[in-house]
């Protein structure tokens, strides 16, 4: 019998939305809680930045535009990559073995069975709101080319972060505990992400560009649209690299994942 991948994706999505409707208030509150938690930190940043005219040439709305890219990409990211973010617990509780025993791709199952739509609404909603608040005030003419590049940058930004999750998930196969690594290489690095990287020390700029390339998630794509003066500190080509970098990083992370899965089967968990 031929199994239908689309049908299975629909089954997973239906299951998630069924529980959404079953526990509607709970679902709305969960999404709102995520939105409120993240919005609070933005409000704190907003009031702090009101004290400054600009930060290295970036005004408050331009920085909200940077934040909007962080939240929009993360909102999409957790629809597709929550299973990889939480991969450690999936291995520990034996669920990963359940996926291995099924006639489906492992990544496919991890992605579709674990999509976190509720948090995605919270993060993505905040991202869209920040975009709407900032886009009109940053003096950008939204030409078709800019819109297309903006969309490709978002896809690239999602892939860059997805590749980081995939790489850390693969490491989970070798190391018992990767939460601390995730804390350092993702969550802590992400704290710098809302600001123009040019305001930081060179070492942090280097890390944000070449080690955990969050700068390509929002700073360089934003530079493509805003063309701020501090872009002169970096090669101009960086503004165009996000979609390509996303694809390359994801392919490399995927190759590492495939290699690690073989190791998993030879070592058990």
């Amino acid at each position: 019998m031929k199994s239908d991948t689309l049908h299975l994706s629909a089954v997973y999505t239906k299951m998630i939305f069924r529980s959404w409707f079953q526990y509607r208030v709970d679902a709305i509150l969960r999404s709102f809680a995520v939105f409120a938690r993240e919005a609070t930190s933005i409000i704190v940043v907003y009031f702090t930045l009101l004290k400054f005219d600009s930060l290295n040439g970036w005004n408050i709305y331009e920085m909200l535009f940077l934040f909007s890219l962080v939240y929009v990409t993360y909102g999409i990211l957790i629809i597709f990559f929550t299973g990889l973010r939480d991969f450690g617990s999936t291995v520990k509780n034996g669920s990963f073995d359940r996926y291995i025993l099924r006639p489906r791709g492992l990544l496919y199952q991890l992605i579709f069975a674990n999509a976190d739509w509720f948090a995605a609404v919270g993060h993505g909603g905040l991202g869209i709101l920040l975009f709407l608040l900032s886009a009109a005030k940053i003096g950008v003419v939204w030409t078709p080319w800019r819109i297309v590049y903006y969309i490709f940058s978002i896809i690239g930004g999602v892939l860059i972060q997805g590749a980081i999750f995939l790489f850390l998930a693969s490491l989970n196969i070798y190391l018992l505990e990767t939460n601390s690594l995730k804390e350092v290489f993702y969550w802590n690095a992400r704290k710098f992400e809302g600001y123009p990287i040019s305001i930081f020390h060179k070492a942090i700029q280097f890390c944000m560009t070449f080690v955990v390339p969050f700068a390509f998630v929002n700073y360089f794509p934003a530079q493509f649209i805003l063309r701020k003066e501090d872009m002169s500190l970096y090669p101009g080509i960086f503004m165009y690299l996000t979609p390509v970098l996303g694809i390359v990083m994801y392919i490399l992370a995927y190759a590492f994942w495939r290699y690690s899965i073989k190791f998993y089967k030879s070592s058990g968990n």
Binding site: M1, R98, P103, R104
Partner: protein, 297 residues
């Protein structure tokens, strides 16, 4: 159907055996003997260090997707249902993953839920169920599909007597349909009741592999005959026995069935006394294994 060709993995040492199609194999052994490793290898969850494994002629690791269509497994430490979904949602997920038709799904589910009495749990999330209820729902999932090979690691943990009976019946049904079943358990008597072949693992080595009959014959072919008699005490002095006890007018005789048959013993007793009742019992499988292991050590 299942071939282990000089397989080494973890504590399993040079396992070399073939399990024919339609066999119910009982895998027994003490904790740490390698039962779960053996079953995980057969399911494709593990890859051997050396040697080969073939399931339906295919490597279960390299042909993961094809093999997983052919097998259904239940391991103690691999959750069958996701914590987030209800039992029915889990069953529907399986229906979709394996592409079961509506007709096949409804028919099989009706049957297994009837046998295992888990229909009332359809709307529950597995974490809200008791151990026994959860195990019924898990077995229901494992028997939902018609496949060539079923693998069960300690399937009866948490099950009450009715649940164990239902499991046995389902095993017989699948065997009748031509499926092969591998079942591990620490309860040797339970295994002896359903298996037609036994694999005894001891510290990773194959201690015994063959039929239950062979196991009795080869290891400790001991039988116990209990006779209640009236009249004079039976004279069995010319029969080779291991042990004899007499209490009031009940005689208990232990003998090696390789040396003397139960027919000979009964004939001799009936010749010399009036028998009120008689019972012949084989030594339990658990007792055999324990005695054999103790003897070897």
């Amino acid at each position: 159907m299942v071939l282990f060709d000089h397989v080494w993995k973890f504590n399993l040492l040079d396992v070399d055996l073939h399990i024919p199609k339609g066999t119910v194999l009982g895998v027994i052994g003490s904790s740490g003997s390698g039962k779960t490793t053996f079953l995980r290898l057969a399911s494709g969850l593990l890859e051997p260090y050396s040697g080969h494994i073939r399931i339906c002629g295919k490597d279960p690791v390299r042909s993961r997707k094809e093999i997983s269509e052919e097998i259904s497994v239940l391991f103690a430490n691999v959750p069958v249902y996701s914590d987030k979904s209800t039992v029915m949602e889990g069953l529907l997920e399986t229906k979709s993953i394996y592409g079961l038709s509506d007709e096949e799904f409804d028919k099989n589910l009706e049957h297994v839920s009837e046998m295992l009495s888990f229909r009332s749990m359809y709307g529950s999330k597995p974490k809200t169920l008791s151990l026994g209820q959860k195990r019924r729902a898990e077995l229901g999932m494992a028997f939902l599909r018609n496949v060539s090979l079923y693998i069960f690691d300690e399937p009866c943990i948490g099950l009450d007597q009715n649940g164990k009976e239902a499991f046995k019946k389902l095993v017989y049904e699948k065997k009748e349909e031509g499926a092969t079943l591998l079942v591990s358990s620490h309860d040797m008597e339970e295994i002896a009741g359903i298996a037609d072949r036994i694999l005894v693992l001891d510290e990773g080595k194959v201690f015994f592999y063959g039929s239950v009959e062979e196991l009795h014959k080869r290891l400790i072919p001991m039988e116990v005959c209990t006779v209640e008699y009236s009249g004079r005490c039976p004279d069995i002095s010319d029969i080779e026995i291991e042990k004899l006890t007499i209490e009031k007018n009940v005689m208990k005789i232990w003998y090696n069935s390789n040396h003397v048959s139960s027919g000979e013993v009964l004939e001799r007793i009936c010749e010399t006394t009036t028998v009120e009742s008689i019972n012949v019992r084989r030594t339990g499988l658990g007792e055999i294994i324990k005695t054999a292991e103790a003897g070897r050590k």
